[in-house]
Symmetry: C2
Subunit: 370 residues, 2 copies
């Protein structure tokens, strides 16, 4: 018997920048020229059918114009494309076009594109660099920090994937103008959530600037993007392993994700989250974690933005209650919820405990009334 020790302790630096501004394609090309991804001269622009024309092709042409080799890989827009089959299709198309280890993936699009393209980059040639050109508020708010990539399978959402960090994220505010209004509104749900869980000033800023956001006033959009990054970054940094604190990012998601599924994805993620937030403040208010005035204020802000705060009639509420048990926070068969402590903070239930075991009856009543 012998034992051979493999020592693999090392310092890893995955730091990167999130650049927030307008019309950032020239900035991206400039970064590539300046060696952001080393000597790589071959780029795979991965995008979806929604943004192919407006942003995918312009990124492609700007890269080619700068003398780089670049190809574009487009898949049908929508959550349904976030599956292993699409990943395989992109990989095969890249291989057929001669892509090998010495390439860089450029994701151009919203959350689905960055999840999928990041996952492709993470396993192509055992990992090639990737950068993320985010074209939606949701992608800016949600997909810029944390490095989560994944696909869905029939039996599980986001379960097959990687933690894989981009080399840089570009949040192009100008792209929001071309977003369908409902998508802009949809993206605001995560923003309100971030404000609710960590930053009361930010909440008040949103209250004061709802119309400006919806009109895509650049300074306001930039401010909001920066704040979103900051809140998420602070939380993720303190709990990279997703052991406890990171659960607070699940605020509103227990009911939110369940209703998104039960609706058969008829509800957008942000819409579902908004209803989940309403359920959360209603239950939190009953339990004395926030005041009636604060409860009303959260719901009122969501309504002003144009987000739904009631469960649609077509949802089977009993099915929804049962669906709660597929939540990843469920432990020993018990539902667990994250709650706000007023506006701008979250409840703790003991040291480093942010999710509270919650009886089915408690949340059932809230759901039946919502």
């Amino acid at each position: 018997m012998q034992n051979f020790r493999v020592e693999l302790k090392k310092v890893v630096d995955d730091s990167y920048d999130v650049q927030i501004g307008r019309d950032l394609i020239p900035a991206l090309v400039c970064d590539m020229k300046e060696g952001l991804v080393g000597k790589i001269r071959k780029f795979a622009v991965v995008t979806d059918s929604n943004v192919e024309k407006d942003y995918g092709v312009p990124v492609l042409e700007a890269l080619r114009g700068a003398g780089f080799e670049a190809e574009i890989f487009v898949f049908p827009a929508g959550e349904k494309s976030k599956v292993r089959k699409t990943k395989e299709m992109i990989e095969d198309a890249m291989l057929a076009k001669g892509f090998r280890r010495d390439c860089c993936v450029v994701a151009v699009g919203g959350g689905v594109v960055s999840d999928l393209a990041g996952f492709v980059a993470g396993t192509f040639g055992r990992g090639v660099p990737f950068v993320n050109y985010a074209t939606t508020l949701l992608a800016a708010a949600d997909a810029s920090i944390g490095g989560k990539t994944a696909v869905d399978t029939e039996l599980a959402t986001n379960l097959i994937g990687l933690i894989y960090q981009p080399r840089k994220v570009y949040v192009d505010i100008d792209t929001w103008k071309t977003l369908p209004k409902e998508h802009l509104i949809n993206g605001m749900a995560e923003t309100v959530k971030h404000a609710c869980l960590a930053d009361r000033d930010f909440f008040e800023y949103i209250e004061d600037h709802v119309e400006d956001v919806l009109a895509c006033v650049p300074e306001v959009c930039e401010y909001i993007s920066g704040k979103n990054c900051n809140v998420k970054y602070q939380v993720v940094m303190k709990d990279e392993k997703e052991k406890s604190l990171r659960e607070i990012l699940n605020l509103g998601h227990t009911v939110g994700r369940a209703i998104e599924t039960v609706s058969g994805y008829r509800l957008l993620h942000g819409e579902a989250l908004s209803i989940g937030m309403a359920a959360q403040v209603n239950l939190g208010c009953r339990l004395g974690f926030l005041s009636e005035e604060e409860r009303t204020r959260v719901i009122a802000l969501q309504e002003r933005i144009g987000l739904p705060v009631r469960i649609p009639d077509y949802i089977d509420r009993e099915e929804l209650v049962q669906k709660l048990y597929t939540d990843k926070k469920v432990r020993d068969g018990k539902l667990r919820f994250v709650f706000q402590r007023g506006i701008g903070d979250v409840m703790t239930f003991g040291e480093d405990v942010y999710a509270r075991p919650t009886a089915e009856e408690e949340i059932r009543e809230v759901i039946m009334e919502l």
Copy 2:
């Protein structure tokens, strides 16, 4: 315009042990009881049809016997299973059996199993722990160090995958006894390569113990496994990013991998490698990198082990020459070879340069005569 810096510098410790010995299933179970993978109590034993009965099921039963939850996932043995479809099949079967993030993958088998199971583990729940129970000499020699996992696609070998480190590797010498003789012989090819490129004493030890290896004398097998780990570890550690030194592990592989493909995988990897080593020493001898006596000695050792050292008649030599250009060392359209400097060392061609650009004519002549 604003810039948000995401600081992600940290110390990562992926160190692990390779335990080399006989009948290590109890050791594996004991490690799990002692918390090698934390509090995880759910295990996915991934294995192939060759070793299911002899090792897969015993590992499964030992884990269950210790009170763990465990399920077995078996795929058809052979390189042809090392594809994305098999990965998907294992993932779906795991999900159907209720596996989520809190599980550990136990690979039981040879190189194909560890490549595939490691890749499954690396992306399941964005990465769950995995341990590797190696049942072949080739897996012990090749798959224990380096953390490379991958699958093949029609257009590329080993190009979709991850660097993902196991929590522990068990090299069970006893398993070699049940290996078909050709597989044991096959595994010795990488061993001879390791000796040739880094350790003259090891080469002489193999010369002195050929019969003992083929008879699976435990002490000899243990010694060989330890030496294999050591050579590979020294090389990989000095060049984790696969920039230069690591290319020396490609000794014999330029012709070897091409002939493996051209044979339609009729040749086992080790057999193909052995022919590739013969080509390499023949060319190296012509170029004056090793003596005629050393050339003969390498080939003689391979022959004594039972490895082929000539190109089979059914191989189209012209096709083989063309296939060399798919080698990953090809740069700017030029073939590049690694060469031995005698026995136990490799040639360098400038500082940190281990692969020599080689004219097609030079290697063509060698191939035509082999």
